[in-house]
Symmetry: C2
Subunit: 470 residues, 2 copies
């Protein structure tokens, strides 16, 4: 790790982006993470600013019958729900067949959005400390109106302005950045149970002093973001996933090669899980999705479980924002996404699970130790409940390192929330893990996050949480 | 790099598999690469043994009308060609639409084989030197009958023996190996123009002295394999791709971070290429694939270009091998897969291209500098020919580091061959590259090969060739 040398532009190291003063990236990120008050806006000032945004920018959202959606139609043949323009997204059917788990075949609605959007955070050195440019952004499905978002959160339709509309602020920073100023740039998946192969481009780009914060934007340090992450429903899902893709500033430490399993072993385990499962997930007419029924109000499963597709009308106080209506996916119940962590040989390890979700591009991604909606299992004997759920439910407060209810994507989901937990287990907790679980170090997680298809979006929120631990 | 210390089993490094005598893996692989004669079989003995296999094991293959295929049928609705069992593979239609290249929409036949097979090479230390266990294996589409294959080359149907048949020899070595003995284990793609999202598990596993070579198997060093790679049609495609996934024994050298572009820049470039292109490739009835026509003899394109689907009858001298018939994909013309290499700042770089092939799982993989069938472009002005093809055609013999005509997969393709070239360009050759090309170092290629979806199968053959250069 080059901590104090300027790097030749032609032969720069793979992991250092240096400032003009020559400090290497990990040291600069660490300094930002230590700055818990921020150089631009105190935490008190932040909350005052943010509450003001919430008051003025929250959208008016009202539930409407599916038939009242303007600009959306149920395609005659398939019953799929699509926008008249053929863009944005659609709600289609999916038929899943696998050789895995208690249920081997099912149909479900799923959101299709084939275009790849950009989730970008601009970072800038202010008074020698890196700050992230964050946006106070309203989304119709947000429980509390406005949440803290990346600098840019734009679908390709948005930023190429195929449908007119105004330019996406700060999009220039991400369209064709100086390659040496790119800290992270990787396609990452989103909820594989709700989205069909959706990925967004997670980008972090360093910008110069010419970039200033507009009215709905603020500069905050990594340390401030770490604190805000513990507030309920404040830092949105898109911000969390981009934060997780920032190179880990602690990865250069002596723990690099001190894992329970070697990097080769971890990759081989992922390959094993992918090769073992045969899963086909194919488009299927929504009209013919067995078990799912469409009423005036919603498309829901006959069991009452899982989620519904509902419709909302959206408007804003602000004149420049036109009113619109759209479908949203409304989950039934509060999710849990919990990570067990344990020191093994003095090194912190997280217990990740190899999850099969039908919308994943590559069958398996690594998820939290436990990811489920607990109430769906209430009526089942404990042997049929998700592995380690009991450990999570029986957690001791003093070993619970992180505990926050956070929202999922408010542009597509209605009040979708999960309780994110990081729980430290005792030294005598078994190090042996079932075949779908492995203890992985944070530097190993950091390596996997450089490549697509490895950590699911819930796990990425927990990685952001891990980095924010004191 | 730990060169001479034994690694603690619990805290082993990410990149070292050590022998009982404690030498680290890169040193052991380097020693095998230097052993150009081999400790078990001299090169002369190898060729004698191999010619004997070719004489006795080559299959009898005769072209038959499509309608004479036994056990195969054209599905009534779609015209797709499938095995009666529903297993093995099928030839289906594909409709491709993209926003890229001169042709934006087309239909074509493509091979579907959703199950993930195993391509595995067992390695063993013999007299202190690592040897690879290779098989002399006949395939119906091989021009010359028998080629040198990995230890195991098996579809899931093969090795799980769903259709009866005998056990796949050495399969045990790869089913549940000791994780610390796995040198490589990664899913890799095959021809994205001919296969729909096909991947195989590329594995290299170290075994103990209890594993011995059966009649059709031999132990050879990496140095011997490097020499054999230059023989036409000898080392088969599956062997070449597995060899490319072995960790590069030179990656620990001082060139690790001396690339023209940082690792982050290379990954960001790949992300850019993937995000830029929207490509949908969807199953389509073969009967309705525009421009493709089925005669008694073949399914071919009206232009005479690309490839045909043909049928063969296969039998063997050997009693234990039953006769069968099957379709094969027959390419029209000899392909070229050429890599330009250049020393930049004293470090060897290869010019890779970001290729869109419709059967790729993730839109783009990196391919050779030039990959095409030149005769398809003979009638076009030079401006419409593939970038850098002229450089390849005008190459000077003394700068041509590798030049061999090698076969593609003989189990699915009929006499499919490509001329593989590695050509060194002069110091004054432009270092600036068009947006679909980048100069990448070998250690960077090695990193990308640890993860799926990065290098296409032609590029992987050339990586194996690069490692075999003197």
């Amino acid at each position: 790790m080059q901590m104090d040398s300027t790097v030749e532009p032609l032969y720069s190291s793979g992991s250092t982006v240096s400032s003009r003063r020559g400090r290497a990236l990990p040291a600069r990120l660490a300094a930002s993470a230590l700055a818990t008050e921020g150089g631009v806006m105190s935490n008190e000032a932040f909350h005052a600013w943010f509450e003001e945004r919430q008051r003025t920018h929250a959208l008016q959202v009202s539930r409407i019958p599916l038939g009242d959606l303007r600009g959306w139609n149920f395609a005659p043949g398939t019953g799929n729900l699509r926008h008249d323009s053929g863009r944005f997204f659609s709600v289609e059917g999916l038929r899943v067949r696998s050789d895995y788990g208690p249920v081997r075949e099912w149909c479900q609605p799923i959101i299709h959005q084939p275009e790849i959007g950009v989730l970008g955070i601009a970072v800038r050195e202010i008074d020698g400390v890196l700050h992230c440019l964050m946006q106070a952004k309203p989304e119709p499905g947000n429980l509390n109106g406005v949440q803290l978002s990346p600098t840019v959160q734009a679908t390709k339709s948005n930023y190429t302005r195929v449908h007119g509309g105004s330019a996406v602020p700060y999009m220039d920073c991400f369209i064709d950045p100086d390659p040496s100023r790119v800290l992270a740039d990787v396609l990452q998946s989103e909820q594989g149970s709700w989205f069909f192969r959706k990925r967004n481009r997670n980008m972090v780009v360093e910008v110069g002093p010419e970039v200033e914060a507009g009215e709905d934007f603020c500069w905050v340090t990594l340390g401030q973001l770490g604190g805000l992450l513990r507030h309920p429903d404040l830092v949105n899902m898109d911000a969390r996933t981009v934060l997780s893709c920032i190179p880990d500033w602690r990865a250069g430490s002596s723990t690099r090669n001190a894992g329970l399993h070697s990097d080769t072993e971890i990759r081989s385990w992922i390959t094993t899980r992918r090769a073992r499962h045969e899963i086909t997930a194919e488009p299927w007419p929504l009209r013919e999705a067995a078990g799912w029924h469409r009423s005036d109000e919603a498309i829901s499963h006959e069991s009452g479980l899982f989620f519904s597709i509902v419709a909302v009308d959206v408007s804003s106080h602000r004149r420049e924002v036109p009113a619109w209506s759209q479908p949203l996916l409304e989950p039934h119940g509060l999710g849990i996404a919990a990570l067990l962590v344990k020191r093994i040989g003095g090194v912190s390890h997280a217990l990740l699970s190899a999850r099969v979700e039908p919308g994943f591009l590559d069958v398996v991604e690594l998820g939290p130790t436990v990811q489920c909606t607990p109430e769906s299992y209430d009526h089942l004997p404990s042997g049929q409940r998700p592995r380690y759920l009991d450990v999570v439910l029986d957690r001791r407060p003093e070993r619970t390192l992180f505990d926050a209810v956070l929202s999922e994507e408010g542009g597509r989901f209605q009040h979708a929330r999960s309780r994110y937990l990081i729980i430290e287990v005792d030294e005598d907790f078994p190090t042996e893990a079932p075949e779908d679980f492995r203890w992985v170090t944070l530097p190993q997680v950091n390596e996997l996050l450089k490549y697509s298809h490895h950590l699911n979006v819930q796990a990425r929120t927990l990685v952001a949480g891990m980095r924010a631990l004191p």
